[in-house]
């Protein structure tokens, strides 16, 4: 499937954190032809293994969950809700949504709904100047109260009903590009690796539960115990009313992150591969927590050398997240080339074996000196 088609499929499907099953099936189907082995972790993350010719394990990942809403109450047939993940409440008014109600019964699945907006005719000027808190919003599913109570219960999940839109210059807009776009990059990397020789085992991973605390990445990375892990996640692109500082323009390739979350050698290697292959990128300074799976993966077990590639994205966490498909293809290519560039020599470097041998020699000398002095 092309990057654009796969993105559309993933974007228009629904999977709030903890409920990624529909996405998981799509990811498995797409990864399968390129993988030697596919497993699902106890938490639900997908791990596709493509074996290399030598030693070493590299993990590339994106998360497949999305932010969403959750039913808190039914009032006169209208649905009250709260959020799973961070929403700007101002974007919710007049959105079309899907309420994922009880699956049994006709019309009992995926109820279409509208987050209602009172008409301006009945609003005072004062009311129109106020942001409506989430607790005062409601979802209308066009059913009488008794039927709503049959089909919907407190705790049911709600997602945006949004078809992907194609804009100019190979840009697209839609929901849940954060971070299904990264899953597309990982799929593109697997496709690329199918025509390349690579020494290291490549673990292509689609993680669950990122939006609620990086939970999928923490656990799947423990299971894989990679020598290097690369997270792919969205970051703010150039867009109206924001600063251009430290952002990648849409269509500008990608951000390669640097900072405490990133192993300098992984960073350097990513940059070098990008340069060697004339893939456009920009270095992004991340001065602390990146808020991505890279943050969790870095401290798994005894610590994992971690890199982060950032997909430029406008209007994050809205239903019109906008990105460049060309950027996704570029990232996929870079990931494939990066994985293929890893060899035994690097493995020793990553593992610090070369350094360790040196240190041991020095340490032995030191011991002898100390002994003499005694």
């Amino acid at each position: 499937m092309s990057a654009k088609d796969f993105l559309q499929k993933l974007s228009e499907a629904h999977g709030v954190s903890g409920y990624e099953h529909a996405i998981r099936e799509m990811v498995i189907a797409e990864f399968k032809p390129y993988a030697d082995e596919i497993t699902v972790t106890p938490m639900g993350s997908v791990i596709a293994l493509k074996r290399g010719a030598g030693k070493g394990k590299v993990l590339i990942e994106g998360h497949m969950d999305e932010i969403g809403l959750m039913v808190t109450d039914i009032e006169k047939g209208f649905i009250r809700f709260t959020q799973v993940g961070g929403f700007d409440v101002r974007v919710l008014l007049s959105q079309e949504v899907i309420v994922h109600g009880k699956p049994e019964g006709p019309g009992g699945k995926e109820l279409r709904g509208i987050i209602g907006a009172r008409p301006p005719h009945v609003l005072t000027a004062e009311e129109r100047e106020k942001v409506i808190p989430m607790s005062d919003l409601w979802i209308d599913v066009g059913l009488p109260e008794a039927r709503v109570r049959e089909l919907v219960q407190v705790g049911d999940l709600i997602t945006y009903a949004r078809q992907m839109v194609e804009l100019k210059n190979n840009l697209v807009a839609g929901k849940a590009f954060d971070d299904r776009a990264a899953v597309v990059c990982v799929a593109e990397a697997l496709k690329g690796l199918a025509t390349m020789k690579h020494a290291w085992d490549v673990y292509a991973v689609a993680n669950v539960q990122e939006e609620v605390g990086l939970k999928g990445a923490l656990t799947s990375t423990f299971q894989i115990n990679p020598d290097v892990a690369i997270a792919i996640d969205v970051s703010h692109a150039d867009q109206p009313n924001t600063s251009e500082i430290n952002t990648v323009p849409l269509g500008g390739g990608m951000g390669i992150a640097m900072g405490p979350n990133i192993h300098p050698m992984v960073h350097d290697k990513l940059v070098q591969v990008a340069k060697d292959n004339e893939i456009s990128y920009k270095i992004i300074a991340e001065s602390g927590a990146t808020g991505t799976d890279a943050w969790a993966m870095q401290v798994v077990r005894e610590g994992i050398p971690t890199g982060l590639i950032e997909i430029p994205l406008r209007y994050m966490h809205t239903s019109v997240e906008t990105l460049s498909v060309t950027d996704l293809e570029r990232i996929g290519r870079l990931l494939a080339l990066f994985c293929a560039s890893l060899d035994d020599k690097f493995l020793k470097q990553w593992r610090g074996e070369a350094v360790a041998e040196e240190t041991t020699r020095k340490a032995r000398k030191g011991t002898r000196k100390v002994a003499k002095r005694k």
Binding site: D88, G142, L171, Q239
Partner: protein, 348 residues
């Protein structure tokens, strides 16, 4: 379904051509003549059929009006980096605009109304309503020049909402105000009446009922009915305010809105007809909005007028909702009530 076609069609005030074409197609086989006037109104005439009314009623002309136009946006500026600025056409709450998809101009260029991500907002910004004139439409253009080549100043934009079924017997879509009235009027024109009926699909209601005014001037109707998709505010609220109308409660008969004071004889005609035929009905319980009927009533020496409507939730936003039962009942009520006019207006 005609309503689906009408709702998906694009016709912001002043640019009703696409809607008009659909309506010409829908009515041409059911009327004796039709024309399009200077403002873009589609005026369809059905001559009297069957038993002629009494001599004194021979000149009876009944005007039925439903407006074709919808609220929308108009492009006013190209930003230096390829984004578009817009103004609203018709009354709209700025708060419904963020994170919506639109289609711009004849070529239906897709665009999105973006917003600074929550991650970059200061708490103060999150608590502030964003004014429409600070918003931008993103069509993916890289430069001002590219945007200028794709979209012109003055191009209309509509919400890219698609019509569809919701719940058991409701539908959702854009522009249900007043494509619901248009769909009802088409059905009403399929019946014969013993007097001349003018079905007028009006232009520019949302910017001041300008089409209805000139159409009524030309027709000189004896009386007029405005068919609407009207305000419905029946969702739960903390404050105890009027729901205005209720979805599923039947067609809403208006006593008065901000422009109209309905003729009591016509109100009685509708109420009596509804009772006789056991058609559910309700009264619009608030003085809100202005309609074509309010303009028509003041044309020339005055025209007794009434407005009757399908209760429609979330009008003047990207997506509204109505019950198809209410729409069917509006059609039933009108087709039963109109023939009674042959005997003259009922007394108060």
């Amino acid at each position: 379904m005609l309503l689906e076609k009408l709702s998906n069609a694009r016709g912001v005030s002043g640019n009703e051509a696409e809607v008009r074409e659909i309506l010409i197609d829908a009515v041409k086989d059911h009327v004796d003549e039709y024309r399009v006037d200077t403002l873009g109104n589609l005026i369809a005439r059905k001559k009297a059929k069957g038993a002629r009314p009494e001599r004194s009623r021979r000149t009876l002309r009944v005007m039925l009006a439903a407006h074709m136009d919808e609220i929308g946006l108009m492009i006013v500026h190209h930003d230096s980096n390829g984004y578009l600025r817009f103004e609203k056409v018709g009354g709209m709450d700025d708060r419904v605009l963020l994170s919506k998809t639109v289609l711009i101009g004849k070529d239906k260029i897709p665009g999105v109304i973006g917003v600074k991500p929550i991650h970059l907002l200061k708490q103060k910004e999150r608590e502030q309503v964003m004014d429409a004139d600070t918003m931008t439409i993103d069509i993916g253009a890289k430069t001002k020049e590219e945007a200028q080549g794709l979209v012109k100043i003055g191009d209309y934009a509509t919400f890219a909402t698609e019509f569809g079924a919701v719940g058991a017997d409701c539908v959702k879509g854009k522009a249900l105000d007043d494509r619901a009235g248009c769909a009802a009027l088409v059905e009403i024109l399929k019946h014969d009446y013993p007097f001349d009926v003018y079905g007028v699909f009006t232009a520019q209601e949302e910017v001041g009922s300008r089409g209805a005014r000139v159409a009524a001037y030309a027709i000189e109707p004896t009386c007029a009915f405005g068919l609407e998709g009207t305000v419905c505010d029946d969702s739960p609220k903390k404050k105890d305010v009027s729901p205005v109308t209720r979805v599923g409660g039947g067609p809403a008969i208006t006593f008065a809105d901000n422009s109209l004071l309905s003729d009591r004889r016509l109100v009685n005609l509708l109420v009596e007809t509804a009772k006789e035929n056991k058609i559910p009905y309700q009264f619009k319980q608030a003085v809100a909005g202005g309609t074509d009927a309010g303009r028509i009533m003041l044309v020339k020496e005055g025209v007794p007028s009434v407005s009757v409507a399908v209760p429609t939730r979330y009008i003047h936003s990207p997506v509204g909702l109505l019950s198809t039962h209410d729409l069917d009942n509006l059609i039933a009520l009108m087709t039963k009530a109109l023939p009674k006019l042959a005997k003259g207006l009922p007394e108060v």
